[in-house]
C-alpha cells in the first residue's frame, strides 16, 4: 500500500504538536519513525489511524484522498495499528479479542466462531505464530499480548501496520521474534511503520528512516544513506549529551539491608532477597519491567508485607513498621508513577511539596498547619530545582511532566534521608531534566546518601551506579561492579535465572 501524509498539522490548544509534516510510506518496506518523547510521532500516527480527526493537511491512500471519521474508516482502508499500551480486553479470550469489532455474523448478530477460528488458524499458519486461541488474555505474557495485537490487524487484512514502540516491553528474544515476523510481513507486500526511539533497532531492521523533532519532520532517508550517529544527532538536535562523570568515593557503612526477605505477591516464584546499599553508593537494579522490581520496592517502602526475613534501615529493623516510621528512620522514595504515587494532581503545589515533611511533623504545630512556613518551603523548592510553575498555590495538574518529576524529586531529596529509593526517575522526562536529575542523584551520593536505583534504562544504570544487579523472574543476580561488566553481559542476565549459576560465572569470568 502506498500511503502519503501531506502537510499534516495538529494543534493542542495553543501548542503546535505537528507542523506541516509530510511522509510517504511504500509497500515492501519497514519504515522507522524515530524521535524523542513528545516529538510528535504518536500524534502523527493517531492522525493516520483516524484517532485524531482535528488536523490540517491531507491523507492519500494509493493516490486517492481519504478522510477518516473514526478508526474504523482507517481499518476498512487497510490500516492497522499496534498501540504502545495494548488495547485488549483482559477477561476475553485471544479469539474474542481478535474478532472484536469485526465479528463474523452467523444470524441476528450472533457470532460465527467456527469461521473466525478457521480464518485465524490460517493466519497463524501463514506467519508461523503459535498461540492458544481460547486462553484469556489476562494469563498471557507481554510478548503474547503483542502477538494478539498484531493478529488483530492481520485479521482485518491490514496492508499497512503501524507499531508504536513495540519493543519497549519485550525481552531480547521476544524482540528477535517480532522483527522476524515484521520481515515476513514486509515480504508479503505489506508496509510497516515502526515507531521507536531505539536507533540500533532501526539500523538493524528498517529500510527507511524518518526523524522527527518538536513536531517537525527533520529528515526522511533510506537506511543505506544514513548512519547511527547522523540519526542520533538529528533526533537530539544540537548535541546536548554531555557525559556525566562519577567521582570516586569510598562507600561507607550499610544503610539499607535486606536479609532473606521473602515478599508476598511476587509475580513469579523467586528466591528470598539479600541486598545491601551503603552510604555514598548508588546500587542499580536493571531488568525488564514486570520481573518483580515494583514488588521489591513496595516491600522496602512498606506498601507490601513479607513472609519472612527482615529489612534494616540505618541498622534499625523496620520489617513490620509502617511507611511513616520507615520515612522517619531515614527513607525517601521517588516513585515511577508520578501521576498516582508521586503527586495529588488536584492539590496545590504547596500541599504536594509539604506532604512528606508534614507526616514527619516539621510543618505543623500541634494539630495546626504552619501555612507561611509551608509556602516559603515550597517557593524554595521551586526555585532550587527550577520547577516551572506560576505559584505555590497552583494545582499540581498544571505542571508539565518534567516539572512534575522535578517537584517530586525536589521534595523527596529535601528530606535528606539516609536512604533514597529511585524508581525510573527519568522516565518520560526531557533531556534537560534528565541531566539535572542525574546530577542531583550523584550529588546526593557525594553527600553520603545511600541510593537504590531501579531502572529499565540500562544506560541510566550504567551511568549512575557503583554496583549493579539484574532482576529476572523475581530473583536478583549477584552484584557486579559497574566498571567490570558490559551492557551485553547485563542484557544476557536480564533473561536468565539467577539460579543458573554456571552461566553467571561464565559472564563474570569473561
Amino acid at each position: 500500500m502506498f500511503a502519503q501524509l501531506h502537510d499534516i498539522s495538529v494543534n493542542f490548544g495553543e501548542v503546535r504538536a505537528l507542523d506541516s509534516v509530510s511522509l510517504d510510506i511504500s509497500p515492501n518496506q519497514i519504515h522507522a519513525v524515530v524521535g524523542e518523547n513528545g516529538a510528535g510521532k504518536s500524534t502523527l500516527m493517531s492522525v493516520l489511524f483516524g484517532l485524531n480527526v482535528n488536523y490540517g493537511g491531507q491523507i492519500f491512500i494509493n493516490d486517492t484522498r481519504k478522510t477518516w471519521a473514526t478508526p474504523s474508516d482507517a481499518i476498512k482502508a487497510g490500516i492497522g495499528m499496534v498501540h504502545q499500551h495494548f488495547m485488549l480486553i483482559e477477561s476475553m479470550t485471544v479469539l474474542e479479542n481478535i474478532i472484536l469489532g469485526s465479528e463474523p455474523n452467523k444470524y441476528l448478530g450472533f457470532l460465527d466462531f467456527q469461521l473466525a477460528e478457521k480464518k485465524i488458524s490460517n493466519l497463524l499458519e501463514t506467519y508461523n505464530f503459535s498461540i492458544n486461541l481460547h486462553q484469556t488474555v489476562d494469563k498471557l505474557s507481554v510478548g503474547q499480548r503483542q502477538m494478539v495485537e498484531i493478529l488483530k490487524t492481520l485479521y482485518r487484512s491490514a496492508e499497512l501496520i503501524i507499531l508504536d514502540e513495540p519493543t519497549a516491553v519485550l525481552t531480547p528474544a521476544e524482540r528477535l521474534d517480532l522483527f522476524n515476523s515484521l520481515q515476513d510481513f514486509k515480504n508479503a507486500g505489506k508496509s510497516i511503520i515502526l515507531i521507536t526511539h531505539k536507533i540500533d533497532e532501526v539500523i538493524a531492521n528498517a529500510d527507511h528512516v524518518s526523524v522527527m523533532r518538536a513536531g517537525q519532520l527533520i529528515s526522511s532517508l533510506p537506511i543505506d544513506g544514513t548512519s547511527q550517529t547522523q540519526i542520533s544527532e538529528e533526533i537530539v538536535g544540537v548535541s546536548k549529551t554531555k557525559s556525566i562523570s562519577r567521582k570516586k568515593i569510598k562507600a561507607g557503612s550499610v544503610k539499607l539491608n535486606l536479609s532473606n526477605l521473602d515478599i508476598l505477591g511476587m509475580p513469579q516464584i523467586g528466591n528470598a532477597f539479600n541486598l545491601e546499599v551503603k552510604a555514598s553508593e548508588i546500587v542499580g537494579i536493571a531488568g525488564v519491567a514486570g520481573n518483580g522490581q515494583s514488588e521489591l520496592i513496595e516491600a522496602i517502602i512498606g506498601l507490601r508485607s513479607s513472609k519472612s526475613g527482615f529489612i534494616e534501615i540505618c541498622s534499625r529493623d523496620v520489617t513490620g513498621a509502617d511507611i511513616s516510621t520507615r520515612r522517619d528512620v531515614g527513607l525517601c522514595y521517588i516513585p515511577e508513577d508520578r501521576q498516582k504515587r508521586g503527586l495529588a494532581l488536584g492539590a496545590q503545589l504547596s500541599e504536594n511539596a509539604s506532604i512528606s515533611s508534614l507526616v514527619s511533623k516539621a510543618f505543623s504545630k500541634g494539630p495546626f498547619l504552619r501555612k507561611t512556613k509551608i509556602r516559603n518551603f515550597t517557593e524554595g523548592l521551586i526555585k532550587k530545582f527550577d520547577v516551572k510553575a506560576s505559584s505555590p498555590s497552583a494545582l499540581a495538574s498544571s505542571l508539565s511532566g518534567g516539572n512534575k518529576q522535578k517537584l517530586i524529586i525536589a521534595r523527596e531529596l529535601s528530606l535528606e534521608s539516609d536512604v533514597i529509593i529511585a524508581e525510573n526517575p527519568t522516565w518520560g522526562v526531557d533531556l534537560g531534566a534528565i541531566n539535572q536529575i542525574h546530577h542531583e542523584l550523584l550529588s546526593m551520593r557525594e553527600n553520603g546518601h545511600a541510593i537504590l536505583l531501579v531502572s529499565s534504562d540500562l544506560d541510566e544504570i550504567l551511568t549512575l551506579s557503583d554496583r549493579v544487579l539484574v532482576m529476572f523472574e523475581s530473583e536478583l543476580s549477584q552484584s557486579f561492579c559497574t566498571e567490570k561488566v558490559t551492557r551485553e553481559e547485563l542484557g544476557k542476565l536480564m533473561l536468565m535465572k539467577a539460579s543458573d549459576k554456571k552461566e553467571q560465572k561464565k559472564i563474570n569470568t569473561a
Binding site: 517502602i301 506498601l303 509502617d322 511507611i323 511513616s324 520507615r326 520515612r327 522514595y333 516513585p335 508513577d337 498516582k340 504515587r341 508521586g342 503527586l343 495529588a344 494532581l345 488536584g346 492539590a347 500541599e351 506532604i355 512528606s356 508534614l358 507526616v359 514527619s360 505543623s364 494539630p367 495546626f368 498547619l369 501555612k371
Partner: protein
C-alpha cells in the same frame, strides 16, 4: 490577561447558568401547571412560607431546618473530601437521634448536664455507626458507598422496633418514645420561637472551616481523598485517616439527630428523621457547592428555604411539597454535569469516549 480570563469565564458560564435557570423555570411551570396552580400564587406562597409568617414564625422554621440540613451537609462534605462516599448519613442520624432520646429519657440526668450527655451519646452513636462501615471496608473490603448505605436500613428498622415495642410511649398510640423532660429541651432564643440548635451547627461550621483548611487531620483527609496511593506512599496512615474521618462525619450526623430531638420534636418518633430526607438533602447541598467548605452554610440555607417554601406552596396553593425534591434533583443533575470534585472512580474508564 487576567481580565481576559475573567471575561472568558463570565461569558462561558453565564450562558450555561442562564440555560440551567431557564430549563429549571420551564420545568417548574410545567409542574405547577400539572397541579393547577398559578405561578404567581405559588411563588408568593413560597416566599411567605420560606421567610415570612406571623412574627417571622416561618423564617424560624427555615433556620431550624437549615441547621439540620447544613449539619448533614457538613457530615457528607467531611467524608466526601476524604474520598469516602458516605451516603449512610441517614442511618448515623437516626442512631444519633434515638441515642439522644433514649439517654435523655432513661438516664435520669436533667438540665444542662443532661443535654450534654444526650448530645455526646448521639455523637458517639452516630460516629460508631459510621466507623462500622469503615471497618467493613478496611477489614472485609466492602465498598464504603454500599456499606454505609446498607447500614441505613438496620438503623431505621432497629430504632423503629425499639420505639414500637420496648421503649414505646404506649399512651400516645404512635410508634414513638416518651416526651423528654422539659429541662432537656433546647431553649428558644430570647424573644423568638427559634430553638438554639442552630448555634451548635454554627460552631461545627466554624470548626470544620479550621479543620479543612488549617489542621493536619483535615490535610491528611484531603490528600487521601485526592489520591489514596499518593497519601499512602507519603506515609499517611490510611487506616486511621479513614476511621477518624468517618467517626467525625458520623458524629456530626449524630449531633444533628440530637438537635432534632432536643430542639424540635422533644422525643423520637419512628421515621421523623428519615421521611424529610435530611440526609439526602445534605448530600445534595455538599455536591452543589463542589465540596467547598465555606459555601456549605449558604447551600444549607438555600435548600432549607426550598423545603420550607414548598411546604407553604402545598398549604396555600395546593402544590405537592415534593416539588422541592424534584428541584433538588434537577439542580444536582446540572451541577454534576460540570466535573465535580467527588472522588469516585467512575470517570476513570471514560478515556475512550
Amino acid at each position: 490577561m487576567k481580565q481576559f480570563k475573567f471575561l472568558y469565564f463570565l461569558k462561558h458560564n453565564t450562558v450555561r447558568y442562564f440555560m440551567t435557570a431557564l430549563s429549571l423555570f420551564f420545568i417548574l411551570l410545567l409542574l405547577l401547571n400539572l397541579a393547577d396552580a398559578s405561578f404567581f400564587e405559588a411563588s408568593q406562597a413560597f416566599l411567605k412560607s420560606a421567610f415570612g409568617g406571623r412574627r417571622y414564625a416561618y423564617l424560624y422554621v427555615t433556620i431550624s431546618r437549615c441547621a439540620l440540613i447544613t449539619g448533614m451537609a457538613i457530615a457528607a462534605l467531611i467524608a466526601f473530601r476524604a474520598g469516602l462516599i458516605n451516603i449512610g448519613g441517614e442511618g448515623q442520624l437516626v442512631i444519633g437521634g434515638f441515642a439522644a432520646a433514649f439517654v435523655s429519657i432513661y438516664s435520669g440526668v436533667t438540665g444542662v448536664p443532661g443535654i450534654i450527655l444526650a448530645i455526646l451519646s448521639a455523637m458517639i452513636g452516630g460516629g460508631l455507626w459510621a466507623v462500622l462501615a469503615g471497618l467493613m471496608k478496611l477489614k472485609l473490603g466492602v465498598p464504603i458507598l454500599v456499606g454505609t448505605l446498607l447500614l441505613n436500613y438496620p438503623a431505621r428498622y432497629i430504632t423503629s422496633y425499639f420505639v414500637s415495642h420496648p421503649f414505646r410511649d404506649v399512651a400516645s398510640g404512635m410508634p414513638q418514645t416518651l416526651l423528654l423532660d422539659k429541662s432537656l429541651w433546647l431553649p428558644f432564643i430570647e424573644g423568638t420561637r427559634l430553638d438554639t440548635g442552630f448555634i451548635f451547627i454554627l460552631i461545627v461550621y466554624g470548626f470544620v472551616l479550621i479543620y479543612s483548611h488549617r489542621s493536619v487531620p483535615g490535610y491528611h483527609a484531603k490528600m487521601t481523598g485526592l489520591s489514596i496511593e499518593f497519601a499512602a506512599t507519603s506515609g499517611i496512615n490510611i487506616f486511621n485517616t479513614t476511621l477518624k474521618t468517618l467517626a467525625f462525619s458520623g458524629a456530626i450526623a449524630g449531633l444533628v439527630g440530637a438537635i432534632a430531638v432536643l430542639g424540635i420534636h422533644h422525643r423520637f418518633t419512628d421515621g421523623m428523621l428519615v421521611q424529610p430526607l435530611y440526609a439526602w438533602t445534605g448530600i445534595v447541598a455538599a455536591l452543589l457547592i463542589n465540596l467547598v467548605p465555606w459555601a456549605i452554610l449558604p447551600a444549607g440555607f438555600f435548600f432549607a428555604s426550598l423545603t420550607s417554601g414548598a411546604s407553604g406552596m402545598e398549604r396555600t396553593a395546593d402544590v405537592p411539597k415534593e416539588i422541592a425534591i424534584i428541584i433538588q434533583g434537577i439542580i444536582i443533575l446540572f451541577v454534576a454535569s460540570r466535573a465535580t470534585g467527588i472522588a469516585s472512580d467512575t470517570k476513570n474508564k471514560e478515556e475512550g469516549n
